[in-house]
Every structure is written in C-alpha cells, then in structure tokens.
C-alpha cells in the first residue's frame, strides 16, 4: 500500500510541476537559510568550550562610577591571580596572560610577522585542556625566555626540523632571544583567546619593558587572569565573596569574575583581547532564521490546502472505494514528507554549495564536518518536526471532504478554511514587513554611523609600522624616527607627518588608562579611568582636531614637556564648563604636575558605538606609529600604490634591516563596524529570501485562485466586466490583507528595532518614512507577483472558460 502511496505522490508531484517546484523551492530556501544561519549561530555559541571550561572563569575589574560598580577593564593586575588563589581555597589555580598583538620573529635570518602571542603561566595547559605535541607539559613554560609554538607557526618557521631546543628572536620592543621548549596543537578558532605562541610568564623578570613589574604589584592592569574553580564550590557564594573582598586595598575598584564560556557573546569591556561577538546579534539572527523557516512552512500549508481543493475528486473516489479517514491522512502525510525530504535534501546541497560564499561573507570558517553534522542534527529535527506539523493540517482537511460533494466538484473553500488562509497570508506579510523595516533601519543606522563626523580627519592617512631588527639604543632609534619624519615631509606626496603612540580607531593596546587624578581645584578623583596617549605638537593639526580653547604644546628640543591637551569630555568630567577656564590650569597624576595647554573638541576614538571618554594627550616622542598625511590631490590622480612605494623606499634607506608595514587609518576605523556591516548584509539578504518565499507563495496562490475563478471571470466578462474590473476583483483581497499586516507589523518592528538601536551610543531615528517605505515595498512586491497572473486570467477569452461546463 505504501508503494502505491509513494507512486501516486511522485506522479502527482511530477504532473503538477509548477506547484511542486514552488513548494520545494520555497521550503528549500527556508531550510537553507535556516541551516546557514544556525551554523553561524552554533559557531558563535560554541566559543570557549573545552574539557572543564565550565569551571574556568576570567577575572576582570569593576570601577566605581558614581554609586555603582561597572565593568571597567578586562585586564587585571599581575598580583590578582596569586592573591585571589591565596585568599580563596575554592580557586584551584590561576593563569595570567600578557597579550602581544603583533611581534616579529626572526630565525636563521628569516623574518616572520606573528600575531597574537602571549606570555602565560605554566598552568595554562592544565586549565585550558591543551596538550603538547612536543616537549614537556610541566616544564615548557617554567624557565624564563622559553617559547611554545603552535604547530602551524612551528612548521612555518622550522619546516620539518625539530624546533625543540632551538633559539629564535622575538622582536617586541627589544630583541628577545627565546628557546623553543614545546609545540602544541593549533588553537581552535572558536575562542576569544587566540594564541599563536606562548612565552613563559617568568620572562617579564628579564624584559626591559616590564622593569616596573618584576615584582607582582597592584599598579598595572595589563594582565588577563583566568581562574579554575573547584567543581564542588558554590560559585554564587564565591562570586559574592570575591566582589566583596578588597584584596587590592582600593575601594574604587573591585575584582569580579565571569564564566569563560560567556566571554565571547556577553562581554564587551574595555581592553578585551579581541572584539567579541554579540548576543543581541545572535538572537536577532536566530529569530530571523525561525521566521524564514516558519514563513516557508506557512507557505507550504497555504499552497497545499489551496491545492487540496483540486484533489477533492480523488478523495471522493477513494472514499467511495472504501478508504478510511486514517488511511487518507496517512497518504497525504506521506506525500508531504516526500516533498519535504526532497526540499531538505535540496537545501542541504544548496547550503554546502553556498557555504564558501557564506564564509567569505561572515568572516568565519564554518564547515560541514562530523562535528557540524552533530550540531545541526537538532536543527534538522526542528525542521522535520515542523514539516510534519505543516503536513497535518492539509491532510486532515483533505480527508474530511464529503465524498458525494467532492465527486460533483462542489467542494469550495469553506469560510473556516478561507479564514485560516487569510490568517496565514497576513502572518506572512506581517513577518515580511517587520523584516523589511528591520533591514531598512539597520541600513539606515550603518549609513548614519559612517556619515557621522568623528571629530578627526582620517582620509588619505597612513601609519607606517615595522620592526627595526638591528636596533641599538632606543633613544637613538627615536631620533632616527624623528629624522625620518622630517625626510618624509619633504616628499611632494606627503602633506604632513607626525609620530604618535596611537590614533583613532587603533586597538586598545596602545591606549593606556589610569585612575588617580587631582583636579585643578585640589579634588582627588580615584574613580574615573582617564585614557591617555603620547603625541607630538603637530598631531592635532595633522588629525584636523579643532581646539575649543588654548593651543597645542609648545615644541621643545627634547620633544617632550609637562604640557597636556585634554578633550571636552575631560573638562566636563572634572567640572569645568568653560573650555577657556581650563587652559593653563594644573592637574596632577603619575606623581607629576601637568599644565593644560589646550582643549580639543570631542572626537570618537573607539568608533561611534562607544561613548566619548575623557582623554589626555601627553607631549612626548613615541615611535609606535609614524602617521603620514598623503596629498589627496596626488592620491586622486596617481593612486596609492606608487606613494606607498616611495614611503617604503625612504623607510628602508633609514632602516635597512627591518620589516615594513602600513595601515590606512580610515579603513582601520571602518573596520570597527565590520561585524555590524556583515550583520546588515545578512539582514538584507535573509530579508530578501523571506520576501522571495512569500512571493512564491503568493504566486502559487494566485495562479490557483485564477484557475478556480475561471468560470466566474468568464461569466463576468460575458456580462461586460472590463479587464481592470476583473483585476480589481482578483487583487483587492491581497491589498486588504497587506493593509492589516502592515498595521500589525508596525508596533512589533518599532519595539524590536528600538531595542537593537540601544546597542549604539549614537543612533539614527525611527523615522515614519521607514515604515511607509516598507509598506510600499511590500505592496509593490505583492502587486508585481499577483498582477501578471491575474492579468492573464482577466484577459483570457471567456468562451474558453465557459465551454468546459
């Protein structure tokens, strides 16, 4: 019997190709979107899960702002780990990291630029469940100046040679000769704490850069601290004890902990190791995934119930031949399962084909491996369940037809069935309009962000970076950089150049902050973190930052002084309302007195997602970045390539033994929105797919309605109805339904999108025209979809329609 069911189902699908195609395509698009989105979502949710990860926590600092503590710094002191362990027996162990974003490794005169190195305690391997491929786990990170490489870094540097015991040079500030003591597996991509090589933490004792930190102290929050907690411990109680303890003796800050598994999606503190993901984004995408999937099911139900009218005759014959309701339901379900399985298979193939494109798009490396297969199994479960559910209603509807009426072709849409279909279509439209509004607002917000003045001009600016490998004394090197700066300014392509510690849009690495400032009026402030960086007097002109009062530092022969420039936010924080009143005032920090020489207008250092922070510019000579403003006129004619070549040749004449690197400032600044832009793209694409699904459904539905009403149309035409009248007759319902859907969609979209905008410090408005535009678009798409077929039906010869009778 099942073979017969199967046979009839297949033949039916083949006979009604358009119907099957629309149905399968709609479902497949829905399922493909769902799979792709859920792969991404699963990946985002899979961060930092390793054996024992549920007991590993990261320590971070809260700062007192007003009366409440707020997360202030993802980094801690180098004493935090050891002291916490001493204080709380529940803490089994700690691992500290010092993060080095970029460094140059030299071995055998070959140069390698390596990112994401860490200094780490020996407890690293145990805590993070990492194994060594070569070397001894227990000793690898014990001796100062030891280095453990990941497999791919080791292969890159040493090829097939055994790296153990060899010495290589890491240039990080200075040249540090390090001995390779181990090789470990590559770190998985889904961790916030990506590592390419590990240097023993004890090395800080011998590195000049850490001369003030040799003895663990409560002075520098430069270390990431992770702790492992006894699995029997009451974590809530421990958490309470930690935040209430005052182990560093500073009442304006406190230590806090968070599960390592939650960092990627839920933590967004200053000084994160990398820009983390966002739980809002994940939730949004999950919702979109389900909306699309449900849309495609609604579509399916809609099409198959409509189509079932046509099958009434078949049901009648079967009933007369003795079929029972149960058997008919079973048959109908089997058909829907076949159709859905086809759609799923199609969807999986589609997903596999689209995956490389999707990866490029999301910047992830998602794969269909065994692991992913396991992780999408529940997804497929959800899909299958939904499909069966979607098949049940048409099945029950179909099996309940009265046979005599069915045979006479008297089954017409019951008002109940009609209401259901109306409901389905309105729901579909509603979801589509909500997505449309969402897509428009996301686009609007991203455009808004990119058009915002950031308070500094980053166009045609590059920073030159590179590691000088044969360097002597640092002060000599700084002088060389200063001369290079002057040389570059002589080039016709260069408008200006200046040395600076960092620039807007750069990572947190080069931007220190401190607490502990005495206001001009003698108020001591221990609460607010003040960000600061060191620049030259011409930095502000170079960056086109505007002075509200005062001026830049007076140039000195040493290239440094006790003058500082502050921003608007700074004087607001210390309670000065009039910028002029701040000029020449003295503030104290770092145990010194500093004179404010000028106040600059606020600018966005961290991008427009974060609010403006109080900023202090120090006068000094740092060679971290050699900022160069290129002549925009030459850029527009000659392009960048030749200009970079000129800069590089100057660089290499100064530093023959060095690496050379450059970054465009505006691109780097824009990169902060990469994730948002990707999210915006995803939103738009999946919205388009949702619309496509809805349109397919409409298309199917209209083509069916036209067939059903063929006779009616014929009679009306014979009696003098114009084509336009017929079109109106056929389309008016859809217009009404869109109207209802639109009204329902507005509050939902309003609520959801306002909550999304809460993520931004600067937000665009939810203008009325966004909603109207979405409504008009939905209307346009609908009319386009239904009009063609309606027109064909309306303009057909009525005689053909009536002859059938």
């Amino acid at each position: 019997m099942y073979t017969l069911y199967f046979k009839i189902a297949v033949r039916y699908l083949l006979k009604h190709r358009l119907y099957s195609f629309i149905n399968i395509l709609g479902l497949a698009i829905g399922v493909t979107s769902f799979i792709l989105i859920m792969l991404y979502v699963n990946h985002e949710r899979s961060y930092d899960k390793f054996a024992g990860s549920e007991h590993v926590y990261r320590v971070y600092m809260d700062f007192l702002k007003g009366e409440t503590f707020l997360p202030g710094d993802a980094q801690t002191y180098n004493l935090s780990g050891p002291e916490l362990k001493k204080e709380f027996p529940e803490i089994l162990d700690f691992t500290r990291f010092f993060h080095m974003e970029e460094a140059t490794i030299v071995y055998d005169e070959k140069i390698f630029e390596e990112s994401k190195g860490k200094m780490a305690d020996p407890s690293y391997f145990e805590m993070f469940g990492q194994k060594l491929l070569k070397g001894d786990l227990n000793t690898a990170l014990v001796e100062p100046n030891s280095i453990v490489l990941t497999r791919s870094v080791a292969e890159k540097i040493f090829g097939n040679d055994n790296p153990i015991g060899k010495t290589l040079s890491v240039f990080w500030g200075d040249n540090h000769p390090l001995k390779v003591t181990g090789v470990m597996d590559d770190i998985t991509k889904n961790t916030h704490n990506k590592i390419n090589y590990l240097i023993s933490f004890s090395s800080i004792n011998s590195w000049r850069q850490f001369k003030n930190e040799k003895e663990p102290n409560w002075s520098f929050q430069n270390y990431y601290t992770y702790i492992k907690i006894d699995q029997k411990a009451d974590i809530d109680a421990l958490h309470k004890k930690i935040i209430e303890s005052d182990i560093d003796g500073d009442i304006d800050e406190r230590h806090n902990i968070e599960p390592v598994e939650e960092i990627h999606l839920r933590s967004n503190k200053p000084y994160e190791i990398e820009a983390n993901g966002s739980i809002t984004r994940v939730k949004f995408l999950t919702t979109i995934a389900f909306i699309i999937l449900i849309l495609s099911w609604l579509n399916y139900i809609n099409l198959s119930t409509t189509k079932s009218l046509e099958r009434a005759k078949e049901i009648g014959i079967r009933k007369v031949a003795g079929a029972q309701k149960k058997q008919l339901i079973l048959q109908s379900l089997l058909e829907s399962i076949i159709l859905n399985l086809l759609a799923i298979s199609f969807a999986i193939v589609l997903a596999i084909i689209l995956l490389p494109l999707y990866n490029e798009f999301t910047g992830k490396e998602l794969t269909f491996g065994f692991y992913t297969l396991k992780s999408i199994l529940p997804i497929l479960g959800v899909i299958l369940f939904g499909m069966i559910l979607a098949g049940v209603y048409p099945a029950i509807l179909l099996s309940s037809y009265n046979p005599t009426k069915a045979l006479k072709g008297k089954i017409r849409t019951s008002s109940q069935g009609l209401n259901l279909r109306k409901g389905l279509i309105i729901t579909q439209f509603m979801a589509t309009i909500v997505l449309l509004i969402g897509a428009i607002i996301v686009t609007k917000q991203l455009n808004f962000l990119q058009e915002q003045p950031i308070g500094a001009d980053l166009s045609t600016m590059v920073t030159l970076k590179g590691e000088v490998l044969n360097k002597q004394n640092d002060s000599i090197l700084r002088k060389q950089f200063k001369t290079l700066e002057a040389e570059l300014e002589k080039l016709p392509i260069v408008l200006e150049a200046s040395l600076a510690q960092t620039y807007p849009g750069d990572s947190y690495d080069n931007l220190p902050s401190f607490t502990g400032l005495m206001y001009p009026d003698g108020t001591e402030d221990e609460r607010i973190p003040y960000f600061n960086y060191t620049v030259q007097p011409d930095y502000f002109k170079l960056m086109d930052m505007k002075f509200l009062a005062g001026k830049t530092f007076l140039p000195t022969s040493k290239g440094r002084s006790n003058e500082v420039v502050v921003n608007e936010e700074f004087i607001r924080v210390i309670g000065i309302t009039e910028p002029n009143a701040a000029v020449n005032q003295t503030i104290q920090f770092f145990g010194n007195e500093w004179k404010i020489s000028g106040v600059v207008k606020d600018y966005h250092h961290f991008g427009l997602k974060s609010p403006v922070v109080p900023m202090i510019f120090l006068h000094g000579l740092r060679r971290d970045n050699l900022l160069v403003k290129l002549n925009p006129d030459i850029v527009s004619t000659g392009g960048y390539r030749d200009m970079i070549r000129q800069l590089e040749s100057k660089w290499t004449t100064f530093f023959p033994q060095s690496t050379f690197d450059y970054i465009f400032l505006d691109k780097k600044f824009q990169a902060q929105y990469d994730e948002d832009i990707k999210f915006g793209n995803a939103f738009r694409i999946f919205t388009a797919l949702a619309i496509l699904i809805a349109a397919l459904g409409l298309f199917g539905l209209t083509s069916y309605t036209c067939i059903q009403r063929k006779k009616e149309i014929g009679i009306r035409k014979v009696n003098g109805a114009s084509i336009f009248k017929i079109l109106k007759l056929l389309n008016i319902d859809f217009l009404k339904w869109i109207g209802i859907a639109f009204v329902l969609a507005i509050p939902i979209a309003w609520y959801v999108m306002s909550s999304w905008l809460e993520n931004f410090a600067l937000k665009t408005s939810l203008s009325w025209w966004v909603f109207v535009l979405a409504g008009v678009m939905a209307l346009g798409i609908t009319l386009l979809t239904v009009t063609w077929q309606s027109f064909m039906a309306a303009s057909s010869n009525p005689v053909d329609a009536l002859r059938d009778e």
């Binding site: 017969l4 033949r11 014959i317 009933k319 007369v320 003795g322 046979p403 005599t404």
Partner: protein, 220 residues
C-alpha cells in the same frame, strides 16, 4: 430482501422553507434485481442512489440493508458495510488520473486490506474478463471513454459486491459504447449481481427488470 427503504425523506432549507429532495420514498430491492430509476433532472434520482449507496444521509425514515438498520449504524460500521457489498459506477468514470488501469483496479482491494498475491490474481481476473490486459499500464487519459467506463465497472466489481449502483453509466458514451456497457451489466445481472442504475435512456431501461419513476422527489 437485499435492502428496504421505508418512508425516506430528505430536505434542505432554502429561504426559510423546507424544500424536499426526496419525499416519503418506499422502495425495496431483492437480490438479483436489475432496477432502473428514471425521471427528469432534479427529480432526486442521484440523491436516492447516494442514499442507497450510503454516501449520503437522510432526514426521516428507515433504511435496512441485509437486515441491518443503516441509519443506526456508526460511520465506521457503515463504511465496512458498503466496502463489502456495494460497488459504484459513475457517469464520468471517476478514475484516478495519476494511477494506471491496473493500479486503479487495485485501489479498492488495498482499502480492504487484501494481501498482495490475492490482489494480483483478482486484478488479473478483471483485466482478463473485460479484455483490457493490453491496457493495464496505461493511464486513464490514454483511454477512450468506453474503455474508461469498462475500467470503472471492473473497479466496482473487483471486490465482488452484491450490489452495483450506476449513475448514468452511459451518459458520456456514444450509442455503440453504451450498448456494450449495458450488455455487460445484463451479463453481470445474469450472474446474480444486483444492479440499480439511474438513466435517462428508455433504451437502457429495457435491460432492467423494474423501473422506478421519480418526480419532484416522490415515486410516481
């Protein structure tokens, strides 16, 4: 006695008024009868046939089939009854377009849960009997009207019913095809199958043993 209808009435409400489709029908059928129901359009012929075939209900009266009171039976029981004893033949054949001739014949057997080998044998018998073995793998749309009706009759017969209800079985056929179909009915009747047909054609009534004339829902 195969079946008996006592004072059967069926009506619908239209504009607040009762409109009788059938009124006070008394009617009995013995096994082996060949009955023709005649009457103008709208006189209730098909309604009566559907009631006899248990496809339709009625509002008043009693209906017993093989000593069972049909109007008191539950739906499932009733379905079993007609599955076992009644076969239908329609004016427009009502074959399933997606199934071949063979599969169309097989369908009622499936619903009676008859085993595979027996099904095959029964289908083969039918194909043989109606001389359509060569057509067994064709779809209905590939057959002429007369051939389709042959398949329709074969399908009605395949479960060896006691009663065949035919609603204008020759209505869509030309006169030669119609005659052939009627000959087959005659032959079936000779073999003991009870037949009730609805027809417009005086010629077709000649094959039957009894004529019932309906007018406005009543027997005249």
């Amino acid at each position: 006695m195969l079946l008996q209808l006592n004072n059967i009435s069926k009506w619908v409400h239209s504009g607040g008024q009762k409109v009788f489709l059938l009124k006070d029908i008394n009617f009995w059928v013995h096994e082996g009868d060949f009955i023709s129901i005649m009457g103008p359009s709208g006189s209730g012929k098909s309604t009566l046939l559907n009631i006899i075939g248990m496809l339709d209900g009625f509002d008043e009266g009693e209906y017993s089939f093989l000593e069972e009171s049909v109007h008191r039976l539950k739906e499932k029981h009733r379905a079993n009854l007609y599955k076992q004893y009644i076969g239908f033949v329609f004016q427009s054949y009502h074959l399933l377009d997606e199934l071949t001739v063979k599969e169309n014949l097989e369908m009622p057997l499936l619903y009676k849960k008859i085993g595979g080998s027996e099904r095959k044998a029964l289908v083969a018998d039918m194909l043989d009997r109606f001389n359509i073995v060569g057509k067994k793998d064709l779809f209905p749309s590939q057959l002429s009207g007369g051939q389709q009706q042959l398949v329709g009759i074969a399908r009605a017969l395949i479960a060896s019913p006691k009663l065949i209800l035919a609603d204008e079985p020759t209505g869509n056929l030309n006169s030669k095809q119609g005659e052939e179909i009627m000959e087959i009915f005659k032959q079936l009747n000779n073999e003991g199958v009870t037949i009730i047909q609805v027809t417009h054609s005086e010629k077709n009534t000649a094959y039957g043993s009894r004529i019932i004339n309906l007018l406005d829902g009543s027997i005249v």
